[in-house]
Symmetry: C2
Subunit: 219 residues, 2 copies
Amino acid sequence: MLARDCFIAQAGLHLRLFRGHVSGMARKKNSSAETTRPRILDAALRLFARHGYAAVSMRQIATDVGVQAGTLYLYTPDKQSLLFELLQTHMQGLLDELATLPEAPSPLAALEDFTRFHIRFHRARRDAVFISYMELRNLEAEYFRKIEAMRQRYEAHLETVLERGKSAGLFVIPDTKLAAFALIAMLTGVNTWYREDGRLSLTRVEDIYWQMVRKAVGA
Amino acid sequence: MLARDCFIAQAGLHLRLFRGHVSGMARKKNSSAETTRPRILDAALRLFARHGYAAVSMRQIATDVGVQAGTLYLYTPDKQSLLFELLQTHMQGLLDELATLPEAPSPLAALEDFTRFHIRFHRARRDAVFISYMELRNLEAEYFRKIEAMRQRYEAHLETVLERGKSAGLFVIPDTKLAAFALIAMLTGVNTWYREDGRLSLTRVEDIYWQMVRKAVGA
DNA sequence: GTCTATAGCGAGATAGAC
DNA sequence: GTCTATCTCGCTATAGAC
């Protein structure tokens, strides 16, 4: 609680300092500054996914980026902020890309679009997905609520699709909320076993999962 | 490998010392010795599940049990052995209980039995399940392989059921392995949202999931 | 069988030189 | 903008008293 307030204050301060610095200078000669921060986030993403948030030290992240540990604190107020930013960026990207899906002509088409989108997006960002599911508990309460709210907006999209198909008499679903949970868990599960050099292409996997999804909702 | 042998040797040593002490004395007044080890495992299970293996300190486990940190090392050679024993015990329990399921009269009945068993068992041991999925990466290679092999034996059971139903013309399944992965992910997902005080009983949840499973395999 | 005490190490984070 | 140096803290694990 106290730690939380302290953290928010620090995050605000850091943001202000960082923006002021960028807008105040016209030079662009030393481009490492613009690329260091993304590289820190990339390294943190990969290391957190591989070893777990708690198991990764700031020193490891720094080594991976090629800077000293102290340098990290020019770009983030602390380790927790790094995690939160990764999760928030991931969830926002998920919602943004979902919003770009074209309006489907039918609930069935909308469900297929969602199925293929979910598999593709989650596969492409498997590290972020893994962190999103595993490290939520390491977020302080306020941050946790924000990420959780974004996740629920994503689930709500699928629920709406299912509800429409049910109302139109196309789907047979005993419980819309449970069906949404079940389908998302099933689709996300692809990440636990799929390998690029396996016997199936991702498109083929999409096809097979779509068949199972379609049958599961009784269409 | 070395660590494991070391652990067994030490556990044996400890057992011998302990027995010698008890048999040498007639008293039984201080019974804490028999209960301390299980209590350590219980505490570790709960804390690992809640905060993650790397985030939990031996001091926290000791505090939870009500002993000093140093005392833990009378019952386990190190922290990693604690994790491995929890995972192994869980997986063995899963396989043992699966083996007690009565022979089903048909592949459809066998699939229903599996579905309900999986939901019930995984719900009852959610902490161990969570650790099994999250903390595998914290195991050293040798330990990892052992747990992984047990998991594959469990999956093989479901694949066999699906294959039989497919051969009998009861199921329509484009790919048996993918269907097994998909169903297990879907069923395990119950743990992420189910609450004892929610609107649905676990039996009702089993019913609803079984309907979805049955339709997904085309039966 | 549990305690206190501590060795030895590495963590997160900060200060100030350049 | 990055470095070196360092503060303070908590960790795993061990030693030895009782």
